[in-house]
């Protein structure tokens, strides 16, 4: 009887150990999943801002631009753009990009994420966003100022001034992208 109880005790500790290891793995996987969520969320938001930017650009080329669409687009850029800093918390750095051989081998991988079958978009965020945070925030403030002015200018409805302000807004977008957004190839 004493023998059976000690074996039972050992089995208990083994099971507890396995439970903790399992929880640890799940915690790491969840953290990675959360980081991926943050990355996908910011990519989706930037794409919507890009769509809005394209709407404004296309309208300004017409003889009679749709001011309503321009205003809605300017509002979206300013509304979403206000949260840009929140989209890049520590821990949301994208994984290092793969070399060409690894990318080629990924095509034949049975892992859906690796072979690109899943919907996950690849992040272009450069590590400087976190290592040079002050500069990143300064670039963001320049964009924020232009986005606010764009919203106001769009409300006023004068195509000439909208054109001028849109150029300044685009330059502020570019100011950040040129430094903090990488080309993956």
């Amino acid at each position: 009887m004493v023998h059976e109880r000690s074996v039972g005790n050992e089995r208990f500790w083994v099971k507890l150990g396995v439970l903790f290891i399992g929880m640890g793995c799940a915690w790491i996987a969840t953290a990675q999943q959360e980081a991926q969520q943050v990355i996908q969320n910011r990519i989706a938001n930037f794409r919507e801002m890009g769509t809005a930017s394209k709407h404004i650009k296309d309208q300004l080329k017409l003889k009679q631009p749709d001011l309503g669409l321009i205003q809605d687009s300017a509002n979206l850029i300013q509304d979403r753009g206000a949260y840009i800093l929140d989209w890049f918390p520590p821990g949301s750095e994208p994984p290092p990009s793969k070399g060409w051989l690894e990318q080629l081998l990924d095509w034949f991988s049975s892992d859906d994420a690796a072979s690109g079958v899943t919907e996950d978009a690849e992040s272009h965020a450069k590590p400087e966003i976190w290592s040079q945070r002050m500069d990143f925030e300064a670039a963001f403030r320049r964009f924020e100022a232009q986005a606010n002015k764009m919203r106001q200018t769009a409300q006023q409805g004068q195509v000439n001034t909208i054109n001028e302000q849109f150029t300044k807004l685009q330059e502020s977008c570019k100011g950040c992208h040129d430094v903090f957004r990488g080309e993956l190839d």
């Binding site: 794409r47 890009g50 769509t51 394209k54």
Partner: protein, 231 residues
């Protein structure tokens, strides 16, 4: 005439005109413009990139037209051969005695030419609809596509460039292979238009007047200009 003298007469090398001016000018301009397009994309000088692209589109469209209506050696029917001929030419390439000198694009090179021409047309076509990441830089016809589609096209535009580069590298390797292995200079004829052939191999070539080429080029340039303005 003595036998040895007759043999010398038969093997005499003469210079014949092979490539007309439109083909030669198009060839070298395209080479320079593809380089320019690549450089301007690397340095993000997009206004130059667009105009380089419009020029390539004009020349590629013109060359396609000339491939149907131009001089003999320019025509597609002249240099696109079936698999049997392609295989025979490829096998004879390394043989010193059995290989023949081809006037115009050879059976293997001819298909490479077509591939490069088609890729150039596809690349320019994609560029017309490509949208950059912040929608700041974009092709002239992007108002007809959404941001997402424009971004996808931009990525394809980048991929097709690599495919095009592979065919260009193949082309350059082949030209130097001719020079070093077959001892046949293909570069000088593409500059001067004249090739040295042995008198037993002279084909009948028809050359179309350059003014026809100029007219076609002008019409195509107008069309591309219209596209550039977003029509």
């Amino acid at each position: 005439m003595a036998d040895s003298q007759r043999l010398q007469y038969l093997e005499k090398e003469i210079n014949i005109r092979v490539w007309d001016l439109p083909v030669r000018v198009t060839h070298w301009l395209l080479a320079m413009l593809v380089l320019l397009s690549w450089l301007t994309a690397e340095y993000r000088w997009f206004e130059w990139h667009r105009w380089s692209g419009y020029s390539i589109l004009t020349l590629a469209l013109f060359r396609s037209y000339w491939g149907f209506c131009g001089s003999t050696t320019a025509q597609f029917t002249n240099f696109l051969y079936g698999p049997g001929t392609v295989g025979r030419f490829a096998r004879s390439f390394f043989s010193r005695t059995g290989s023949t000198t081809v006037v115009g694009h050879n059976p293997v090179g001819g298909w490479n030419v077509l591939a490069m021409l088609l890729l150039l047309l596809v690349q320019c076509g994609l560029g017309l609809f490509a949208v950059d990441v912040d929608a700041i830089e974009s092709g002239p016809l992007t108002r007809y596509v959404s941001f997402d589609v424009g971004r996808l096209i931009a990525e394809l535009h980048g991929t097709v460039f690599y495919v095009l580069t592979a065919f260009i590298v193949l082309h350059i390797v082949a030209v130097f292979a001719h020079l070093l292995i077959k001892r046949e200079n293909l570069i000088r004829p593409m500059i001067t238009g004249v090739k040295s052939v042995s008198s037993g191999e002279i084909p009948v070539l028809r050359f179309v007047a350059p003014w026809r080429a100029l007219l076609a080029l002008a019409a195509i340039a107008l069309l591309v200009l219209g596209l550039a303005k977003g029509l």
